[in-house]
Structures are given as structure tokens and as C-alpha cells.
Symmetry: C2
Subunit: 194 residues, 2 copies
Amino acid sequence: MPENKKRRRGADLENAILTAAWEQLQEKGYQNATIEGVAAAAATTKTVLYRRWPDKAHLMIAALIKFGELPDYQVPDTGSLRSDLFALFGQMAAFLDRLNGETLRGLLADRLRNLELGELLSRANTTDTLKTFLRPLLVRAADRGDIPQREWSDRVINLPGILLLNEVIGQQTLTVAAQTEMIDEILLPVYGAK
Amino acid sequence: MPENKKRRRGADLENAILTAAWEQLQEKGYQNATIEGVAAAAATTKTVLYRRWPDKAHLMIAALIKFGELPDYQVPDTGSLRSDLFALFGQMAAFLDRLNGETLRGLLADRLRNLELGELLSRANTTDTLKTFLRPLLVRAADRGDIPQREWSDRVINLPGILLLNEVIGQQTLTVAAQTEMIDEILLPVYGAK
DNA sequence: AAATATAAGATACGGCCGTATCTAATTTAA
DNA sequence: TTAAATTAGATACGGCCGTATCTTATATTT
């Protein structure tokens, strides 16, 4: 048999690494996955990984983007702002469920350490994805007369994401009761629902 | 001169360590401070520290509690809910300012990793301290007729803390403009101010 | 096809973590 | 005052991080 001296390169190699990273993430969780472990699983070495990603967070986010089935929210139009928000939260909850909780915490922790990482994360993250289509949702509600029409500040647009994230981090879970409270006691009043 | 063979023990030693920890925290910041560094600065060894605190976060929080001049909020009574909230935010901002930002992020990151650490942190932390006296503040506002009287859920009570934390983490700072937005666009509507 | 450039793979390093083990100083109990 | 129990201090370990260096396979250029 021919001794295998083939070297993978470029995209080939990168795919193998990301696949390994994704597997490690599933098997061991974020905290226990190591760069060296991923390298070994991909039958290569650290050096190669560090040439591509600066640290675990970036590597794992890359894997997450490739294999994580990031949410592709359907902007709900259910007839009322309240039920739209419920639909939205439901979708976000489903996404976060798939994310193991531990992984989410690990990523956020690393995000806090670095801070620069923030933007990168946000692509995979609910918080900012959210706002691109929360605004139309509010516009619709205003057109319908559910709430007054006005300019919504970024802070107010991001509020659902903040609440959600806070909930998932603090508690391990996102119950319907919690969603209800967030919507009825906070979001609807803020958006000016009567 | 007598060769110093004295060994510090118990509280004595512990004070020396916490003092060193506090100094290291100031000098290097949370991330760059190391357990071994603190041990060296206190002229002892890791082993001794690990007997007392399970990790850097616990050690630093202990130092913080001892030397950090944790906030002793004066419940403000300025005549209106809005100005009370401003006074409150001002106090919290002052506290957070002293905390270097970097330290806060480091601690929160570690908190996310562990999670159990949460309660411990909360003693030093604004978020929960907050709620013990936000409630009376709201009651006063209700008595005054600023807002309707009702039962306020924990979630709603913690909201200022969440907003604040989020702001400090995401941005590096807490501007007056941000405070104003949080109060006028979120908190006052949530509490039902007309 | 040969020369050159690029990037993979192997290895080693210093830094810090958290743990384990051993010794000797200091307390406390007898 | 002596014996026993604590616990400080010293050292060493394996694990992982992130970096640097070197060699060698593969692409690219000429």
C-alpha cells in the first residue's frame, strides 16, 4: 500500500478542521473542547489552526456558522403585536435550545474577555440578527394601530434580545411563563401597546 | 539579625494575601492578574491560596469585598420617579466607574463559566443589591401618584440592573444620554408612568 | 521541467492553571 | 513538656494556551 503522504490544503483542510471542531463541540461541549483536541481529531496540528483562527471562540463560531443551522427567522405576521412577539420568542427559544446552553455561556464568556469578538459573535447571535426584522414587525403593528407609530431607538429594538439573553444566562431555560412576563410586563408597555 | 522563620497563619496570612490580591488587581487588572502572581506578591505559594479559594474569581471577589468599597446606596427621594431613577443610575455609574470595566468583564466572564459563582458575585454586584430598595422607591412613586400601585415582579424590579449591566458590558461606558434613554424609553413606560 | 513561493506538519517553548505530595513550623491537646 | 494535629511552604506534575522555529510537501511561476 502506498504510504499516505498527501497533504490537505486550503478549503479541503479547512473543512476537515471545521468538521472536527463541530464534532468536538457536540461531544465535549464548549468548555471541554480544546484547540489541540480539534487539531488531533482533524489529524493535523495546532499550528495549522492558529494560522486560521486566533482562538477557540473564533474557531467554534466558524464551525457554528457552517454546521449550526443558524436561525433563519420567518418574520411572523400573526395578526397582533403580542402574538407576533410570542412567535418570535418561540423561534429564538428553539434556536437557543439547540445551542446547549453551555456553549452559549462559553461563547459569551469569551466574548466578554475579548470584546472585539462581539461583532463576530453577533452574526451567529440572536441579539443583533433580531433587530433587522423586529423593526418591520413594529411598523406593521403601528399600521394596524396596535401601537403608536414612531422612531424606535436601537436600545428599544434590542430589548427583546437583551431580555432573552439575560434569561438564558441566568436561568438555564426559557419557559413560557418567562416569555409571557417579558412580553406583557416589559415589551408591550415599552412599545406603547394599550 | 535573626533569620526570619516566622510563618504567618490563619487570618494574618489571609489578610496578607487579600492585600496582595487587591494590589495585583489594581496594577494588572483582572485578566492579567494571576494566582501565582498574587501568591508571590504575598510571599507565599499557590498551594496556600488554593486551600482558601477555588479560583481567581473567588479570590478577587474576596479582595473586592474587603477593599473595594462596595456601594452603599442611599435610596434617593428626589420628588419624582424619574429623578429618583436618575439619582439611582448616577450612584450605580459611580460604582461601576471605580470597577475598571475590565475587572467587571473579567468577573462576569468567569461567572458565566461557572454559574454557581453567580450568587457570590451578586453580593458585590449591582444587579441584586439594587432590588432591595428599588421596590420602596416604586412604592413611593405609587403613593405619590406617579405610577399605578401594583405588585412588581422580580423581572421588572431587576430591569434597571439588566439594562445597566448590558450597557456597561457592550459599551465601555455609561453616558447620560444612555441613562436618559433607558429611563424614558424603557423604565418609565414599564412602571406605567404617564 | 526547474526554480520559487506557499503553507502543512512536527516539535519545542514559556506561561498559567489546578492538583498532589512531601517537609517542617506552629498550635493544640494530653 | 511532650505528643499529636494543623497547616504553611516547597516542589513537581499533567493539561492547555498561544508562539516560534524548522522541515518538507505541494502549488505556482518562469
